[in-house]
């Protein structure tokens, strides 16, 4: 077998000298041999053979024979002839090898158990080769390791190890954090409906927000302390307050309507143009405004406006009697804001406190609310 990558053409045409002279400008030719007046043969590089063939066809030359030599041609021939077969063989080998292993783990039926923990346990204790995994043994080991498991079945489906787990029904106390019931608001206890736990307060007690109402334990007849989950409904009278102050005279600041504007055009934070005026106001407030002059990122011109508004102070005088109802309504609104979760409004009242020039309106709404615990009948 010739190792050089060559292609030998055997052609038939008229005026072969002219043809070869043209062809040699395209690719170098070798071993040119005139067979007879109409036929000749020549060799060229195997990698140029396509170009030569195209050239000969374009020049209406009859190609009698084409022979390829060399390693590159042999490799290509083997690949094209046996490529599909080779791919099938490689695929089968790969499939057979990887089919021996478990690649995926599936855990079903867990609620309290951590799936990740179960999978890690199986991975650590058993091989990933399917032939080495005894499903019975996996089931027994899982039952031994995890107390929460009541029933487990293990099967290998394809390349997935499927674990179907049924968990034990354990009492809630097993998972409880035994937290006490604390008061969510200040108030006076009106009703205690205790299901479990030990009450720390009685009806009529006044409690503050954060006080422990029910402790998460019970003491049995033998004096033993037993931790339990706290469950109770505790109702209390809650005093929701809102206040509003009225001043007989106060200074009100208002805009006069005069304003001065400053403008600045910037590009990438650099000032391009600036227009500034003197601000002669003794009292003023400032507003800033940023406007994009262009909508592109290429030249992001921006206009920065600064507006100075002149202010003036006015002394406003009003008598409380004239606006009393308005202030009481305001104080009530504030009190109602604190009654988000109230069940029943028991009573409403307000008080007025007159100081020198100030009147303070206090509005109180007494409600009955559940201030701690949950109740499941």
């Amino acid at each position: 077998m010739k190792m050089r990558n060559r292609t030998k053409f055997h052609i038939q045409s008229l005026n072969q000298e002219k043809l070869l002279s043209k062809l040699c400008k395209l690719v170098p030719l070798e071993e040119i041999e005139r067979k007879n007046k109409l036929e000749s043969s020549f060799e060229c590089s195997y990698f140029d053979s396509k170009r030569v063939e195209k050239f000969l066809k374009n020049n209406n030359v009859k190609i009698l024979d084409v022979k390829h030599f060399g390693l590159a041609f042999q490799c290509k021939r083997v690949l094209s002839a046996y490529g599909l077969l080779l791919a099938v063989v490689v695929f089968l080998v790969f499939y057979l090898v990887q089919n021996q292993f478990v690649l995926q783990y599936q855990v079903n039926g867990t609620e309290k158990l951590d799936k990740f923990e179960v999978v890690e346990f199986v991975k650590d204790n058993f091989s990933s080769r399917k032939s080495d995994i005894a499903t019975d043994e996996v089931e027994v080991k899982l039952m031994e390791k995890f107390d929460e498991i009541s029933f487990v079945s293990c099967i290998i489906k394809g390349q997935t190890l499927v674990l179907n787990i049924k968990e034990k029904l354990l009492p809630d106390e097993m998972y409880s954090t035994f937290s006490p019931i604390v008061a969510q608001k200040d108030g006076k206890i009106t009703k205690i409906d205790l299901i479990s736990g030990t009450a720390n307060v009685e009806v009529g007690d006044i409690v503050q927000k954060g006080d422990i109402l029910v402790s998460p334990y019970m003491i049995d007849t033998s004096g033993n302390v037993k931790h339990v989950e706290t469950r109770a409904e505790i109702l209390a009278q809650v005093f929701n307050e809102g206040s509003c102050d009225h001043y007989e005279s106060f200074i009100q600041v208002e805009r006069t309507g005069k304003k001065v504007e400053e403008s600045e055009v910037t590009l990438f934070g650099l000032s391009i143009y600036k227009f500034k005026q003197d601000v002669n106001f003794s009292l003023y407030e400032v507003e800033y405004e940023n406007i994009d002059l262009t909508n592109n990122l290429f030249l992001p011109f921006k206009l920065k406006k600064t507006i100075y508004y002149e202010l003036e102070e006015k002394v406003v005088e009003s008598k409380f009697e004239d606006v009393q109802d308005e202030y009481i309504a305001k104080a009530r609104e504030k009190a109602l804001e604190n009654c988000e979760n109230c069940d029943t409004i028991i009573e409403e009242f307000y008080t007025l406190r007159h100081l020198s020039g100030i009147t303070i309106v206090n509005y109180c709404i007494v409600t009955q609310e559940q201030i701690g615990g949950t109740y499941d009948s």
Partner: protein
């Protein structure tokens, strides 16, 4: 590197046009040509090709064109006569 053809050209005192083509006959069995302008005749007994200023005719026996590129060619076989017309 020593270039035989360049060396010969430099040693010639009379000014001549020497850059048109080069033709080397090796032991009457190999003819190497630089600067050809295309084949005119090709057979086992006669090969002729154009060069600048004329045509070279090569006569012999069992001659083949061992190489042919854009401006060089190599003739192998028994070379009896090389003539420029």
């Amino acid at each position: 590197m020593f270039n035989f053809l360049e060396e010969i050209k430099e040693n010639i005192r009379t000014p001549l046009e020497l850059d048109s083509f080069n033709l080397i006959n090796v032991a009457g069995h190999l003819l190497y040509v630089e600067g050809h302008l295309g084949l005119v005749t090709l057979s086992k007994e006669l090969v002729s090709f154009k060069v600048k200023g004329g045509v070279i005719i090569v006569e012999g026996q069992n001659m083949i064109l061992a190489e042919l590129s854009e401006n060089t060619l190599k003739i192998c076989g028994i070379i009896k006569k090389v003539e420029q017309v």
